[in-house]
């Protein structure tokens, strides 16, 4: 079986999309440069030409707005923001424009654009190079938000996002770039809005996003050695999220831990917890626990970073708590 890294899988999705569909083009900061995107865009400009693989000035607003205008007029653009933080300079085109366009014009006009942003944690990069802002965008009707956690999803979700016909935010995580996994060779789609059951278990449900899905599997192995059988769901799409898969798992286990490496307050984990409590209260045998970042900006000091970021250990602690 062929293995690729997460970053290589993203690159392959771009390459196949560019080769397959003349409407696809790529625009953003650093797409000609390995400093920003790692190997995830490597040499695409050489392969497909700089007319379709466009490195841009530091103009998040104009490049994103231009991609939206191009999408409305028949293209399938992918916009690249090398740090999710920088994408905030394009919040007007994303939220005010792209998200509303189909609704405002009663479906006569749509915005088939993919906006890719990289979540970049740790490495002493501090508050403005580390944010995971998925909840901000998942709040907005009209947007879809995907967060692949595995190499095969990284490829399949990008292809599905480009073909979706709606504005889709594709959030990849630099912590996953070197993870390896089986990636099928053809151009294939991972359906938006469908979670993946990564591990079956009967004692507790762990719902995770992005890099926390991998951490949850690590946690499940630790828990298994302690006699706990955890079910792990990788949400994959944050908006819309897969209620059926989550409900059916919680209906079975009666216990829920949600792991999302973003801030606790008002986040995805809060949304899932509120929905499960509201609609599946009778099935719960214990309070829901959320494993999220503390409500503080990311510190730079590596000592503080260690206290700030969450991982498998925190999930193990949370699971043991819901089982008590």
């Amino acid at each position: 079986m062929r293995e690729l890294t997460y970053a290589q899988a993203i690159r392959e999705a771009h390459a196949q999309l560019l080769a397959e569909d003349p409407r696809v083009f790529l625009i953003g900061q650093g797409v000609w440069n390995p400093w920003y995107a790692g190997t995830s865009l490597q040499d695409l400009d050489k392969e497909f030409g700089r007319a379709r693989v466009m490195d841009s000035p530091v103009s998040e607003n104009a490049t994103t707005g231009a991609a939206i205008g191009a999408a409305i007029t028949g293209m399938r653009p992918i916009v690249f923001h090398p740090r999710m933080d920088f994408m905030l300079l394009a919040v007007d085109p994303i939220i005010n424009q792209a998200a509303n366009w189909s609704y405002l014009f009663a479906g006569q006009v749509s915005v088939p654009v993919v906006i890719r942003a990289v979540i970049n944690r740790g490495g002493e990069q501090g508050a403005q190079h580390s944010q995971a802002l998925q909840a901000l965008f998942a709040h907005v009707p009209g947007l879809k938000v995907v967060m692949p956690a595995t190499p095969s999803d990284a490829k399949g979700l990008l292809i599905a996002a480009v073909n979706d016909g709606n504005p889709v935010l594709y959030l990849d995580d630099r912590w996953l770039y070197e993870r390896r996994g089986y990636v099928p060779e053809p151009l294939y789609q991972v359906p938006l809005g469908k979670a993946a059951l990564r591990r079956s278990g009967k004692d507790v449900t762990v719902v995770a996003t992005s890099c926390m899905a991998a951490e949850s599997l690590d946690a499940a192995r630790v828990l298994e050695a302690r006699g706990v059988d955890a079910e792990v769901i990788d949400l994959r799409t944050i908006k819309p999220w897969d209620r059926d898969t989550v409900f059916s798992s919680v209906g079975k286990t009666g216990r829920l831990v949600i792991a999302d490496a973003a801030w606790l307050s008002g986040g995805i984990a809060a949304e899932i917890a509120a929905t499960v409590v509201g609609e599946l209260f009778h099935a719960l045998q214990a309070p829901i626990i959320r494993v999220c970042l503390p409500d503080a900006p990311a510190p730079s000091s590596s000592f503080l970073e260690q206290a700030y970021y969450i991982g498998a250990d925190d999930i193990v602690v949370a699971v043991e708590k819901v089982l008590r």
Binding site: A51, N61, I72, D92, Y103, A106
Partner: protein
């Protein structure tokens, strides 16, 4: 009966009469909208472009149907001049299901994709980068379509404008930036917002032509646009037109807003003397347009506007079940 022709330099009396007709139709429509706002039959915010009609008419006369226009909240004129349907626009202003946006948009959100009108929105400057994107799309698709961004002088205070000019210049995109400089951004005059009256200089900073045009002269606007379109279609890149005009009515609704600005009462009186419609009428009078001809055009337009209002009044509101439709489009083929 539409005047878009892809642009010929010669303007016959017949074509100029069409210009006059288009301008009169925009004005009559907006005056009627103003009355309907005053009588509270229309409640959505309506921003009137009365006094500025020469700009959309002059620009759109030099466009083809497949050229795209992108506008703001004051876009009734852009919509009508580009070939949007009057009935559908009036119904939209009324919030009716037959409106050009199905009643979801109101006056500030107009669309007619078949006419190259892909959407207008009130966040000023928001559609400037989108027009740049439409131009990029045209270039990548290998067509010679041109995208036109209409925006007011207030929009040039936004970062969108400056980023977009740079991007359009860098990629030599077929885009025309049309600044309708009516000297006001809501209540603030140009000189309260800028230390220099220098919007047009933004083009030169990015290495492409910028022209100041008399925005109350439809023929001058047409001719400037015609030249810009030739540049754009032959791959020479963008142009900025700063069309100088004046907003007769207030920022929103039919009021005159005489309490804002520094000297609005006197300025308004002076600018009304430069009425773009009367100017063209005088020129056409010399070419043989009689008062009876003019009255006939006015009568025909009054009938059209009456019919549009009746159409809007008779049309149903959207069904409540429509509320959650079109948040997303259903999946298209790959």
């Amino acid at each position: 009966m539409h005047l878009q022709d892809g642009g010929t330099r010669r303007l016959s009396s017949e074509r100029l009469t069409l210009f006059l007709y288009e301008m009169l139709r925009i004005r009559a429509t907006e005056e009627r909208i103003g009355q309907l706002v005053e009588s509270r039959e229309i409640k959505t915010p309506c921003h009137l472009s009365i006094g500025q009609e020469a700009i959309p008419v002059g620009v759109c006369a030099a466009l083809r149907q497949d050229d795209t226009v992108w506008g703001g909240h004051r876009s009734h004129g852009h919509y009508l001049a580009k070939g949007g349907d009057l009935n559908a626009m009036m119904a939209e202003v009324f919030g009716k299901a037959t409106g050009c946006a199905g009643g979801r948009g109101g006056s500030m959100h107009l669309a007619a994709p078949a006419q190259g009108i892909f959407g207008t929105v009130p966040l000023v400057a928001a559609t400037i980068p989108m027009a740049v994107g439409a131009a990029l799309s045209a270039k990548l698709r290998g067509t010679d379509e041109v995208a036109v961004a209409f925006f007011g002088d207030g929009a040039t205070d936004e970062g969108h404008f400056h980023e977009s000019l740079n991007l359009a210049a860098l990629y030599r995109l077929p885009v025309l930036f049309v600044c309708e400089n009516n000297l006001y951004s809501t209540h603030m005059m140009l000189n309260e917002r800028r230390v220099k009256d220098n919007i047009v200089e933004s083009a030169a900073l990015h290495g492409f032509p910028g022209l100041v045009v008399d925005g109350n002269d439809a023929v001058a606007v047409y001719q400037a646009t015609y030249q810009a379109m030739e540049r754009a279609r032959t791959g020479e890149g963008p142009t900025l037109l700063e069309c100088r005009t004046y907003r007769w009515r207030g920022h929103v609704g039919p009021a005159l807003d005489l309490e804002v600005g520094q000297n609005r009462q006197q300025d308004l009186a002076e600018w009304m003397q430069k009425d773009p419609i009367m100017r063209l009428r005088e020129r056409l009078r010399e070419e043989g347009l009689s008062d009876a001809d003019f009255s006939e055009i006015e009568r025909r337009i009054a009938d059209e506007v009456d019919a549009a209002v009746n159409f809007a009044r008779r049309s149903p509101y959207p069904d409540e079940s429509d509320l959650l439709h079109h948040v997303y489009v259903s999946r298209r083929g790959a």
